[in-house]
């Protein structure tokens, strides 16, 4: 008989769910298209075809062209790339790195450290997410732009501003500022209940170091809710990033993003005359948010069998 652990058992259960498989395929496809946009996209995102302005979908431009004759399909692919970069940076740094470690520390050590971290989190969480993100993005942008320009001037690195690094930094910082709170809270709660287990006490009795207890004993046992939250959080992060670009604080034109494409194609007159400008980015954005949420739902089902 082969022994399998909790995670691999859960994942084998996950792969029996049709919805989960479908979501995973869609997510992987969209992310693949985004990551390899420079290779796949038929045109550059800035290339203007003056002979085909506001063209409906055709064989040459399969999703049509916009007001300036740019290929909508290519721009959507580049837009996905921005979304991929920003959401991954935010999830990795904000939720996973900051959120998980602060949650572990707060839950395990308790007392004053716990109070400090959680009150700090509440300070961030008491603003409405969107408002905080908009506020931060608006106030941080000039400083970060200045900082990135300073780096360009003083080092040999070139093209940071042009490649949109400043935009990524601004959006990621703004998103990180609130996304760590939920994760820290979740992990802290898990740790609070897990650390009462006797196996933690036995680890202490055998002389394990604190980091060993945190990362070998506590973290693996708290892993399933973390995975679920990351997957659920992806959907809302993508949504927030789109909204941010939509109000003009995210990715700056001419770089495309799903948000600013929706903004351009979203006016009444545009919907009447060039609906294809809205359709493709709209469908992609909608699919991304929906699939991440459904995928998170499926993960929740397999990791918490009791709630089924």
């Amino acid at each position: 008989m082969k022994s399998v652990n909790h995670l691999s058992r859960s994942f084998s259960r996950l792969f029996k769910k049709k919805v989960a498989i479908l979501c995973l395929i869609l997510i992987v496809t969209i992310y693949f298209l985004g990551i390899f946009a420079p290779l796949i996209a038929p045109y550059d995102y800035n290339y203007q075809d003056y002979s085909a302005i506001r063209e409906p979908p055709s064989w040459e431009h399969i999703a049509g062209t916009d007001f300036k004759g740019r290929d909508v399909f290519s721009r959507v692919l580049w837009g996905i790339q921005n979304t991929v970069i920003i959401t991954f940076v935010t999830i990795l740094s904000g939720s996973l790195l900051i959120g998980v470690s602060l949650g572990l520390i707060a839950g395990y050590f308790g007392g004053k450290i716990d109070s400090f971290i959680m009150r700090l989190g509440e300070l961030f969480a008491c603003f409405p997410d969107i408002l905080l993100v908009i506020l931060l993005a608006a106030t941080l942008r000039p400083r970060i732009l200045e900082f990135v320009r300073w780096i360009e001037d003083n080092t040999l690195i070139e093209g940071l501003v042009k490649s949109g690094t400043a935009d990524y930094l601004v959006i990621s910082l703004a998103l990180v500022s609130f996304s760590w709170v939920g994760m820290a809270r979740l992990v802290r709660g898990q740790v609070l209940s897990l650390k009462e287990n006797e196996y933690i006490e036995s680890a202490k009795a055998m002389g394990s170091s604190t980091s060993r207890i945190l990362f070998i004993h506590l973290l693996p046992n708290a892993l399933s809710p973390i995975i679920i939250t990351v997957s659920m959080g992806m959907g809302s992060l993508i949504g927030t990033e789109i909204i941010l670009s939509w109000v003009g604080l995210g990715i700056q034109p001419p770089r495309p993003s799903l948000g600013n494409m929706l903004l351009e194609g979203g006016s009444i007159s545009a919907i009447r005359s060039v609906p294809w400008m809205l359709v493709t980015p709209g469908i992609v954005a909608w699919t991304l948010v929906l699939t991440w949420n459904l995928f998170g739902d499926s993960l929740n089902d397999v990791f918490n069998p009791r709630t089924r």
């Binding site: 652990n5 909790h6 006797e198 196996y199 009795a205 055998m206 002389g207």
Partner: protein, 341 residues
């Protein structure tokens, strides 16, 4: 049972463990102490088994954990092999922990469900860097599993695939990994059914013989304690009220609490069992948050609630000590035994 040597392994003196009770949401203030362990003293010889009995909440588990420094004791001294443990930190504490280990009560909660049996047993080896190579590590893990009666191939399995008794064996193997001289067994058989209890107890006895171990055996099952212990300490309200050689304690219990406890052991003979007389105690155990000081159970003295005398261990016969408040005992012959109501 191994006959105890004369070498003292552990010396506990006036050990106190108070847990603060706080109130207030933002600014917490200490309002009282729960006196879980309040002045426990005993010595333990190498190779000996000390049974620690008492009802739930009397502080026996806390005493065990405090000795292992899992809780920082409020006061008192714990000398292990001549080293004072109180105040040890970091590496020196870790070094001491190579010599004392614990077996836990709950075989389901004491094993990390995400680790394989082999990883659990081998963890102390990694923590203390006791093996130099991977093959040596694997060999040692197999050896430990064999010692406790499991098969080496089980190392790949996860805790949920074992039965309660097997899990307790894993816990024992983990405790043995560092070659300790003292093992504190915190009710190791309470969660097991009777036939498995016997297996585990026999295993513990065999191991003691083979590996020259010293046990502190915490339990509330008096027949189990009688079977395994050389000496027995009876705890009540954070104090040891009576401590004696096993046979002495079971044959000549002096303290009324010990007498009541012993009278509660069922006899495995229906005829005798029918005639067994039970001593029923009046009143209840006082709260350890605000315990009365006196010998109020026996009410022999005129002011039983208010005996301000310090509690002392009175030697009634060689090696047999009972808790008394000296003046009270001298004048009225009553033992320290506060009761509520």
């Amino acid at each position: 049972m191994v006959t105890a040597t004369n070498e003292t392994l552990l010396e506990v003196e006036d050990l106190q463990m108070y847990f603060p009770v706080t109130s207030g949401i933002v600014f917490q203030q200490k309002v009282a102490d729960v006196k879980a362990v309040d002045g426990v003293s005993f010595t333990l010889k190498k190779g000996e088994t000390l049974g620690l009995v008492g009802e739930s909440g009397c502080g026996k588990t806390t005493a065990g954990r405090t000795i292992l420094q899992l809780y920082k004791p409020t006061a008192g001294s714990i000398k292990f092999n001549g080293t004072e443990l109180n105040g040890l930190k970091g590496n020196s504490l870790r070094a001491v922990r190579r010599d004392m280990q614990m077996i836990f009560q709950d075989p389901y909660g004491s094993l990390n469900p995400r680790m394989t049996c082999g990883d659990i047993v081998g963890e102390p080896l990694k923590v203390h860097k006791l093996t130099s190579s991977k093959s040596e590590y694997q060999e040692r893990v197999s050896e430990l599993l064999t010692i406790v009666g499991l098969s080496p191939y089980m190392a790949e399995r996860y805790p949920h695939e074992f039965s309660g008794g097997q899990r307790q064996r894993i816990g024992i193997a983990r405790a043995l990994a560092v070659n300790p001289s003292l093992i504190i067994c915190d009710e190791p058989v309470s969660a097991l059914d009777v036939s498995i209890q016997a297996q585990v107890i026999n295993l513990l006895e065999d191991l003691q013989e083979q590996l020259d171990l010293t046990y502190i055996f915490i339990a509330h099952d008096l027949s189990v304690v009688k079977h395994i212990s050389d000496r027995i300490a009876v705890m009540y309200l954070g104090h040891i009220v009576e401590i004696a050689e096993r046979n002495e304690l079971y044959e000549n219990p002096v303290h009324p609490y010990t007498q009541a406890l012993l009278s509660a052991i069922p006899i495995a003979d229906p005829v005798l069992e029918a005639t067994r007389e039970r001593i029923l105690l009046r009143g209840g155990v006082p709260s350890p948050m605000n315990p009365p000081s006196g010998c109020c159970y026996e009410r022999k003295c005129p002011d039983p609630d208010n005996s301000g005398d310090p509690i002392e261990m009175k030697e009634v016969s060689p090696g047999h000590f009972v808790a008394v408040a000296q003046e009270c005992f001298d004048q009225y012959g009553c033992y320290w035994f506060p009761r509520e109501g």
